[in-house]
């Protein structure tokens, strides 16, 4: 491509090339246009909204950074940030950790392995709203399946979604349950990319199972684990449907994360400015995570 460009640099652009430009514009244009209207412009406009006070009806009042200083000095918002942190860190840790264990298990050549893999992956495909509701039924403290099973061993189910101490645990469990299969698929793909010779070499060198795991499996998985870590973090950061159907951010804000707070401020409390601040913080957080990813995985991603 570079050759073509330099060769044509001196001559006038041919009509054939002009035709290609036109076709390019026709093919890419609509896609880019929609992004401009529904992605790039809204990002800028959201930045503007974060600096006004507005109830969606009256005039917008310019308040500069007041929304930011208000939120960051007031307890509620730091609680929202804390919730987001707890949710994201627990979800990412559990998904990656359990995902590794399950992937190692399903990497063994056992009968029915492919069937179990399919079952583990299936929740990833299913509606988060529907699955959240199924889990409401299972966690129901009166006639839920979990309560029945716990009764067999003499325990009582906690009142998951009326108790501020348990509600966050509840939504994390469901989020992890739903997304575990994603991690398993990614880690299995990573395991299969590790050359078999390495295991054989380790084996003849007398390495035990743990030694092989540490010397071969873990280093071999590290690039894919990094990818998994980032994508799981982004997904957890944005998790909304499960929280909305199960707790609506409650009880008493116990499960209000950034994305839920954004929804709540905008569409329940109709405070556009504060909702926009949530969106700005959400965007900056995800932007930072993506930058970290791009910085460390440049060798695997070729943009141009």
């Amino acid at each position: 491509m570079v050759g073509t460009t330099t060769r044509r640099a001196n001559t006038r652009v041919s009509s054939a090339e002009r035709k290609e430009w036109l076709l390019f514009a026709l093919l890419v244009g609509p896609n880019l246009f929609l992004f401009s209207v529904f992605t790039y412009w809204p990002l800028l406009y959201n930045g503007y909204l974060s600096m006004v006070r507005w109830d969606f009806l009256g005039p917008k009042v310019w308040v500069g950074l007041d929304n930011f200083t208000h939120l960051f000095t007031q307890g509620d918002f730091s609680f929202v940030l804390w919730n987001t942190f707890v949710f994201t860190v627990s979800a990412v840790g559990l998904i990656c950790g359990l995902g590794l264990a399950v992937a190692l298990l399903l990497n063994r050549s056992l009968l029915w392995r492919d069937g179990v893999r399919a079952v583990v992956f299936s929740p990833v495909m299913l509606s988060g709203a529907a699955m959240g509701i199924v889990w409401l039924f299972i966690l129901d403290p009166r006639y839920g399946l979990l309560d029945i099973l716990l009764n067999y061993v003499g325990l009582e189910s906690p009142n998951w979604f009326l108790d501020t101490r348990w509600a966050m645990a509840g939504v994390i469990v469901v989020h992890v349950w739903k997304n575990l299969g994603y991690a398993v698929v990614i880690i299995l793909a990573g395991l299969q990319a590790i050359p078999r010779e390495l295991y054989e070499a380790a084996l003849v060198d007398g390495a035990g199972a743990w030694g092989r795991f540490r010397a071969v499996t873990l280093p071999g998985l590290s690039p894919i684990f990094f990818f998994l870590f980032i994508t799981t973090m982004l997904a957890s950061f944005q998790s909304f449907d499960i929280i909305h159907v199960m707790t609506e951010g409650g009880p008493v804000n116990a499960t209000t994360t950034l994305i839920y707070n954004l929804y709540d401020e905008a569409f329940k409390a109709t405070r556009a400015g504060r909702a926009a601040v949530s969106a700005v913080v959400l965007f900056l957080g995800m932007f930072a995570i993506t930058l970290v990813q791009m910085r460390f995985s440049e060798r695997r991603v070729h943009y141009a």
């Binding site: 076709l23 093919l27 299913l126 698929v185």
Partner: protein
């Protein structure tokens, strides 16, 4: 298998290789057969493996099983102790109740229409944009590509508030199909994936198509799309599933029940049933997830490959 063949074909020129070979032969006498990841086979390990699989199967599968059986139980059986693991008097009453207590028919039609057009746009834009970025000349083409990719860093969640103002206030499209579909119709990740795939196709085929006098649209339709079929199917299926399950945007842009899509509708049903009448609610969730489960059963390979492609090839 290929790797092993390659390994043994090496002539043991170097001392470490022959030593390795010697140790390998000797090891073979004492060590049980090696599975392909180099694990020793033993009854105990296999037994633990099956026990682990059973636990995983129960943990992940039980909620879906409980949903499905609950959908076919009468209310008194649902609240009965000890619980029944299989519906004693299977009934379709819950499905009828779910269908009449909220407009489930509307939910289905709305979801099918918005998924069809939403994914249709995504696949169309993905294929045409990727083709343009690989096979057409344009000034500063790679810059244009970077601008498109930048959209990946701006998730829908960040833009819902301004988009609500644009779609509901400016365009007046609340409670319409175009209002649900258009903000999510453009595609960056799919363009990226397909572009990677197109770049890996052999150049000769396009030269041949050019010699045959095929123009670009024809080459795209009859050469590139058939060659990239697996990647397109994977991307298309993932797009369909994500549109089907989409929640936040339809929640915001619809506020009349006849315009709800299935995920919003199933929550609406749960609210209507007061979070206690679980039979009809479970029937409703079965109705929501069934089409996706069927797609998954038939096309699991494509979907899993599509997910893994992002990690390994990306």
């Amino acid at each position: 298998m290929e790797n092993t063949a390659k390994l043994t074909q090496h002539s043991p020129k170097h001392s470490w290789q022959s030593r390795t070979a010697w140790r390998k032969e000797n090891a073979a006498q004492f060590v049980a057969p090696i599975s392909w990841v180099g694990q020793r086979r033993s009854r105990v390990a296999d037994g633990l493996g099956y026990a682990g699989m059973l636990i995983v199967l129960l943990m992940i599968g039980l909620p879906v099983y409980w949903m499905t059986t609950g959908a076919f139980k009468f209310d008194n059986e649902i609240y009965q102790l000890p619980p029944t693991w299989w519906p004693q008097q299977p009934t379709l009453q819950n499905f009828a109740d779910a269908w009449t207590s909220v407009p489930f028919g509307n939910f289905y039609i709305n979801t099918i229409v918005t998924t069809f057009f939403g994914s249709g746009f995504e696949i169309f834009f993905g294929v045409t944009s990727a083709y343009a970025f690989v096979f057409l000349r344009f000034p500063k083409r790679d810059w244009v590509f970077l601008i498109l990719l930048a959209a990946l860093m701006i998730p829908n969640q960040v833009t819902v508030l301004p988009n609500y103002l644009t779609v509901a206030r400016v365009l007046g499209w609340a409670n319409t199909y175009q209002g649900i579909v258009l903000p999510g119709a453009s595609v960056a990740y799919g363009t990226f994936l397909l572009r990677q795939y197109y770049m890996s196709l052999p150049q000769e085929i396009f030269d041949a198509a050019k010699v045959d006098g095929a123009d670009h649209l024809r080459t795209m339709w009859s050469v590139v799309i058939p060659l990239a079929k697996p990647a397109t199917i994977s991307f298309g299926l993932l797009s369909i599933v994500s549109k089907w399950n989409d929640y936040l945007w339809p929640l915001i842009i619809t506020n009349r029940e006849e315009w709800y899509v299935l995920p919003i509708g199933i929550r609406w049903l749960t609210v209507q049933e007061g979070y206690i009448s679980w039979g009809p609610v479970m029937a409703g969730t079965v109705l929501v997830v069934l089409p996706v489960l069927v797609i998954f059963l038939y096309a699991q390979k494509y979907i899993v490959e599509g997910i893994a492609a992002g990690a390994v090839k990306g």
